[in-house]
Amino acid sequence: MTAPGVDDAVREKPPVTERRLHPVTPLRRAWAPVAVLIGWAVHDPDQAQRQLTRLTTTTLLIALALLLPAAALYGFLTWWFTHFAVTDTELRIRTGLLFRRTAHIRLERIQAVDITQPLLARVAGVAKLKLDVVGADKKDELAFLGEREARALRAELLARAAGFAPETAHEVGEAPVRELLRTPARDLAISLVLTGATWGTLAAALVVPPLLWLATHSVWTVLATAVPLLGAAGASSVGRFVSEYDWTVGESPDGLRIDHGLLDRTHETVPPGRVQTVRIVEPLLWRRRGWVRVELDVAGSSNSVLVPVAPREVAEAVVARVLPGVTVPPASALSRPPRRAGRCVPVWWRGHGLAVTDTVFAARHGLLRRSLALVPHAKVQSVRLAQGPWERLWRVADVHVDTGANKTVTTRLRDAQEAAELLKRQAERSRTGRKGARPDRWMV
């Protein structure tokens, strides 16, 4: 440590150490040509079979002998030419054999950090690391890294994004996690049994193919509908159970930690102040048990579940931690649209409700499956009032609130006067709501 000026000058060209991904990566990449072949075979099975019968064993062996080394070489070369480096302000990923591509991901723009481990990767002891940034590509993930390396890198990235000095960011290490909630497997299973969508897709998968068989007597038509339907049924029941198994929500100075999965493990970290909207969903059959599901939106992140199933009080406590200073308005605090709104939306108008507190804009919709969306005022990007001709006749209007995660929260069928007032007030609130917000670098 000399004078600051000298120190800065030295840091002008920091010796950025570029690193490579884990050496098992080529194996994954080597699958690409094989996957193309399989894709082709599935796409056009008749043609594939005809081609296969024409091939003799020798040609097959020669093709394999050529293809496998070629695939291995391709995998090796893409691995060899992929580098990544962490600098003071960004994560840099250089890839490409023929077409070079460098992604610069700015650390203070991080919306979330995901570490995912598919089943095979767990066996091999490796993990994928992905930074969720607005507009990030699927290609910008680091796959694969060693398990421990991935964790260390996540800790370092978060420390730098939080605003720790670059020299100390290495040593900060993992922030301690306090567990907020863990979903028992039994509750998860019951909740899935009590979900209408599970039964709906299952019924469709069991009913539609036999009917089609009676109508067409064509094996291919039946298969072409049965396979996707069965897939959807499996995904909405078993698939959801497997992916939401052992759902753990934790809190740390680095933000929210969400870990889940039975076979594929996923560890997501959402830094403070990144949550744009939170939705509390209450399906009809869960109501007797007092269970809710909580969904969240983070810009650039694909995960949208915060709590798959939990008692209402527990879920509200988690929401209060996720959106600091926010209390979920109780059902009694929500104001319904005026009675005449029933002329626009019969029966279902009763499901709509609105509550605006100092911190959030809360809009509910749905009669059987209630969904309450919460938007902190600081996260509102723009406000719109819309009114169709029929709504004008009955003097009601809709107010849309747009947020940064490309989600729009709408409160429908408000009294026209009230809606105009709401538009004005909401614009005011979203402008001033920002003042109390935390900085992007949350540790500064």
Binding site: S382, V383, R384, L385, A386, P389, D402, K424, R431
Partner: protein
Amino acid sequence: METGSAGNTGKTAAAEGEPVWTGLPPGLLRMRRLLLVVWLGLLAVGLGLLLDLLAGPVWAAFALLPLALMAWGWVMLGHNWRSWRYAERADDLLISKGVLWREETVVPYGRMQLVEVTSGPVERHFGLASVQLHTAAAATDATIPGLDPAEAERLRDRLTELGEARSAGL
């Protein structure tokens, strides 16, 4: 909020109460009506000739249909044009539009990510340009069409300046 308010104190004071609305210049209406007349006129003539040759002169009366459509469109375009208006307030931009389906949008200046001035070949010929505001939400639909290019540029510069002063991001 000290920045940006020095030059337009008078305007700010006016904006505290009711917003000062600005309509669109008549150039846009002229362009749209001209396009309507040209396209529907061509359609009417083409249809009339075709029906006259193939089906007989009585059927050619169907060519009046596009003309009726033209008259209706003429009036509708006028209504639509009159419904568009915008107001620059101290801290946000208001855009109001639509006749049957009305929509009013408020975008706080601090949330603007990008201001875009576009002008297609037809618009350029008529001396028009449109200003579009983008926020971090893709659903934000804040476009002001058919402005005078000079006004569009003034608006762009002012919006960028105000956006910088009040920047808030995601």
